[in-house]
Amino acid sequence: MSGPLTIFDKPNSYIGRTVPRADARRLLQGRGKFVDDIQLPRMLHAAFVRSDVAHGKIISINTATAKTMPGVKAVFTGTDFVDVVEPYIGVLSHLAGLRSAPQMPIATDVARWQGEPVAMVIASTRAIAEDAAELVEVEIEPLDAATNMELALEPETPVIHKDLGSNLAWERVVEAGDTEAAFARNDVTTVERRFRFGRHTGVTLEARAAVADYDPSEETLTFSYSGQAPHMMQFIFAKHLGLLEENVRVVSQDVGGSFGIKIHTYGDEIATAAASKLLGRPIKFVADRMESFLTDIHARDHLVDGKIAVREDGKIVALAFDDVTGIGPYSMYPRTSAIEANQVLNLTGAPYRIENYRAQSKVVFQNKNLMCQYRAVGHPIAMAIADGLLEDAAAEIGMDPVEMRRRNLIPDDAYPTTSFSGMKFDDLSHHRTLDRLVAAVGYDARRQEHAKLREQGIYRGLGLVSMVEVTNPSPMFYGVGGAPIASQDGATVRLDAGGGVHVSSSVTEQGQGTNAILAQIVAGVFGVPIERVKVTTGDTRTTPYGGGTWASRGAGIGGEAALQAAYALKEQVLDVASVILQSSADKLDIDAGDVVDAGTKTERISLSDLARTVYYRGNELPSDLKPELVATRHYRVTDFPFVFTNGAMAAEIELDVETGFVKVLNFWAVEDCGRVINPQLVDEQVRGGVVQGIGGALYEECLYSEDGQFLNATMADYLVPMAFEMPDIHVEHVETPTKTSVLGAKGAGEAGTGGAPAAVMNAVNDVLRHMGTSIHQMPMTPERVLKALGKV
C-alpha cells in the first residue's frame, strides 16, 4: 500500500495516543440516546405472547378478549403477517450444503422453541400491552422436543423440519495430511479428551430494542434500533416488507452493549416493523430480560472429541477432532448459524505448524433458542481444543507447556503462510507475544511459588493460550455467499465554513470507541485539533454505505476508510490553498487547523478563512477552480479472507478443593492487533473481552430441561462476572501492522473472549493434574470441579 506513512510520526498525530472519548462525557451526565429513550407522537407499544413449550402445534389463538381491552390497538398472530412479510431462510451459498427452513417473525403453525413469538399485542402503553397479552388464549399441543444435540441425528429423535428429512443443518470436514497414519506411529504419545462447551449468551445490559415508524404517505420506514449493522437491516426490511430500499432508514444511536447479539434478524423486531406498516403509526418494542434470555441468540454449545499426537521432542504430529453443535430450530438469518462451526474448523491449531489435521463438525437442529455469532465466534472452542490438548500432552511427555509452544508455533519470520484449512496468515508474532507474556507473568518464579504453596495446601495453577483471531473480514466472510452485508466501509470527511471537520462513517459505535478513533485518525491525518472533529455513525440516510461494526472490523476497515478520506480532503484543501496563496500544494501542509508553510510551519491561512472564501466569497477564486471541501473514500480488505490478529494470554487461578470454587487471581494478555490507534481503548477492549471469556469459562450457562424449558432465564440465576470475582488484567502489546492497509490496524475485540476460556481451563487443570484428574467442561462450575475431584 502506498500512502502518507509520515502521518504516524507527525507531532500532531493523534494515532497511537490515549485520547478521552467525547461520548463518555455525555453518557456520564445521563445524556445517552438509547432506543427506549425515544418518544414519538402517537407511538404505540408492542408486547409478545411467546410459546411456553419447546415444540408444539398451534391449535388455536383467541384474541377476542384481548382486543376489547381499553388501550389495545391491535392483536396480531402469525397468519396476519403472511401477506406482509416474506419468509427468510438462514443459508449462504459458500457454506455448501447448509440447510434451514423458511422462518416467519411470528410462528404460524408450529412453535419450535420456548420463547418463539406466537402473538403480538399493540397498545397505548407497554403495561397495557402486557396486560392484554395475558388475555390472549393460546392452545398449543405439545410435540416431542428434540433438545439434546448429541441425539439430534438418532432415529428416535423427532425431525424438526419434516421437509429437510433430518436434523442435520450442515457438516464439513477439513483434512490435511494423513492423521490416521500419524496417530498410528509408534513414536508418538496420544492424548484424547472430550470437551463440552455450554450454551451461553451475550446479556447486553440494554436489551434489544426498536422503534419502527412507518409513514404511509411516503411509504417510508424509519427503524431506530439497538444494533450493529444498519445497512444490513435496511436491505432486510426492504426485501421482507416489500419496500424500496431507499425508503428504509435505519438508525442506530447509543447501543447498550452488543457483542454480536445485535447483528441478527429477530422475529419480534421484524414484527414490530410489519405492525407499524399495517397500522401506520410508530411502534416501540423493548425486550424485557426474560425475552432477552429466551430469544437473544445463544452461543457455543459444542461437544468435541479431540486428540493430539506428539513426539518425545514436543513436536505436534497430528491434531484431530469431531465436533457437534446445536443451533436451535433454524439457522439464523442472514448470517447463518454455521459460521461458528466453520470458524472452529478453520482456527483450531492455527498458531501451530501441524502437518496432519482432521476436523469434522456437525451442525444440528434442536428445539432450543437459536444459536449464532457472538463475540469471538468459534474462537473459545478452537483455542480450548488445541491449547487444552497441547498442555495436557506437554504434561504427558514431561515438557514445560511454554517450551512445547515454542517448538510448535509458526516462526514469526515465516509469514506469509497458509494453514491446513486454507487460511492465509501474515504479519503475526506468536513467538514475540509468548516471550512478552512469559516475562510479564514471571513464569518460572510463579511456577516455583505454586509448587511451594501446594505443599501448604494452597492450590494455584497457571494456564496459557496462544491464539489467532479473525478480524477485518473481507467479502469472503459473508458477501461471497450472498449475504446482504457490506464488507467495505466508507467515510466522508467534510470541511465546514467554521474550520471544523465532520466525519460520517458506515461503521458503528457500541461503546468500543469507534467514534473516538475515527476522530483521532481524521484529526491527525487532516491536521486539526481533535475537538474540531465531529463524527456521525449509525444512520443509513447520512453515512456512506457499509457493514457496521462486528468481527473487529471498525478500526481496521472503517478506520482505514477514514484515513484515506482525510488524506484526500487534505490534498483537495491544499490544492485550493495553493491557488489562494499562490504557492504550490507540496510546499504547504495543514497543522492544528491552519494551512502552514510545510517547511517552517508558519501559518499561511486558517482553515476557516479558506473555507469561508470557498463557501461565501467564491468571487475571489479563479473561475476555473472548482473547489471540493468534501472527500469520500471506501476501503475493503483484498487478497486475504481476514486480517488475523494474534495474542498470548495466561491465567493464574486458585482452586478451593473443598468447595470447588475457582478464583482467577491474575490474568495477562499480550495482544498484537497491529497499529494501536488508542492504547487505552484497546486495553479496555481486551480487558472487557477477557472478563466475558472468564464468564464463559466459569459461570455462564443457559440451562435447559430435557423438554426444552430454559431453567435460569433471569439475571439472578444466570451468573455473569461481577466486579468482586474479577482479577486485575495486565495488558501488553506487540505491534505488527498489517500490510493490507496504510493504517495497519487489526481488530482487538475478540481477543479476550476467545482466549481466556482456554487459559482458565488450562490453569484449573494445572491444579487438578496433581490430583490425578482434569476437567474439560465449561463452565467449570464448583459442582463440576467437585465431580472431577470425586467429591460429589
Binding site: P20, R21, D23, A24, R25, R26, L27, L28, Q29, G30, R31, G32, F34, D36, D37, Q39, A127, D131, G202, V203, T204, L205, E206, A207, D254, V255, G256, G257, S258, F259, D288, R289, Q510, G511, Q512, G513, Q680, L681, E684, R687, G688, G689, V690, V691, Q692, T714, M715, A716, V720, P721, M722, A723, F724, E725, M726, D728, I729, G752
Partner: protein, 159 residues
C-alpha cells in the same frame, strides 16, 4: 389495575406533583413520566444495578420501589448528580480511565461509586470491587472503574 394516587416528591431539586398508577415503579415514572431517561432499566428485578439512584440519601434500585412509595421523597438521578456537581470528580475520573464503554450501566455504576466515595471509602481495590459488585457491566471488565474510584479517593483528579 389502573388505580392512581397523587404523589408529591422532589426530583433533582424540583418539586413534582403527579397522579401515578399504583403499580408504576419508580424507574418507569422517572423515565416515562418525567423524561429523565438517564437512569436505565436492565433487568427489572433488582439484580443489575443499572437503575441505581438516590432516594432520601440512600442509593436504591429504581426498579424495586413503586412510584407511590416515593411520595414525599427527595430523589437525585444521574441528571441531578451532573447538575449539582457532586459527581464531577468521578465523572472526570471515569473519562480519564475510560471506565465506561457503552454507557448503559454507567448511571448506576456512577451512583454506586459515588456512594462509596462519599461514605469515606478507602482506596482499597478489593473493597471497591465488593462495593460495586451489585452493578453489572458487560463492557469494561470493571478494572477501569476501580482505578477511577481510587483516583478520586487519592486526589489524582482535578475538575
Amino acid at each position: 389495575m389502573q388505580e392512581t394516587r397523587t404523589i408529591t416528591l422532589t426530583v433533582n431539586g424540583e418539586t413534582i406533583s403527579e397522579a401515578v398508577p399504583n403499580r408504576l415503579n419508580l424507574i418507569d415514572f422517572l423515565r416515562g413520566t418525567l423524561g429523565l431517561t438517564g437512569s436505565h432499566v436492565g433487568c427489572e428485578h433488582g439484580v443489575c444495578g443499572a437503575c441505581t439512584l438516590e432516594v432520601d440519601g440512600a442509593m436504591v434500585r429504581g426498579c424495586l420501589i413503586f412510584a407511590v412509595q416515593a411520595d414525599g421523597s427527595q430523589i437525585t438521578t444521574i441528571e441531578g448528580l451532573a447538575e449539582d456537581g457532586r459527581s464531577a470528580a468521578l465523572r472526570e475520573a471515569f473519562i480519564q480511565r475510560n471506565a465506561l464503554q457503552c454507557g448503559y450501566c454507567t448511571p448506576g455504576m456512577l451512583a454506586s461509586a459515588l456512594e462509596y466515595v462519599e461514605s469515606g471509602g478507602a482506596a482499597d481495590r478489593s473493597a471497591i470491587r465488593e462495593h460495586i459488585s451489585g452493578n453489572y457491566c458487560r463492557c469494561t471488565g470493571y478494572q477501569a472503574v476501580v482505578e477511577a474510584v481510587c483516583d478520586v479517593i487519592e486526589g489524582r483528579v482535578s475538575t
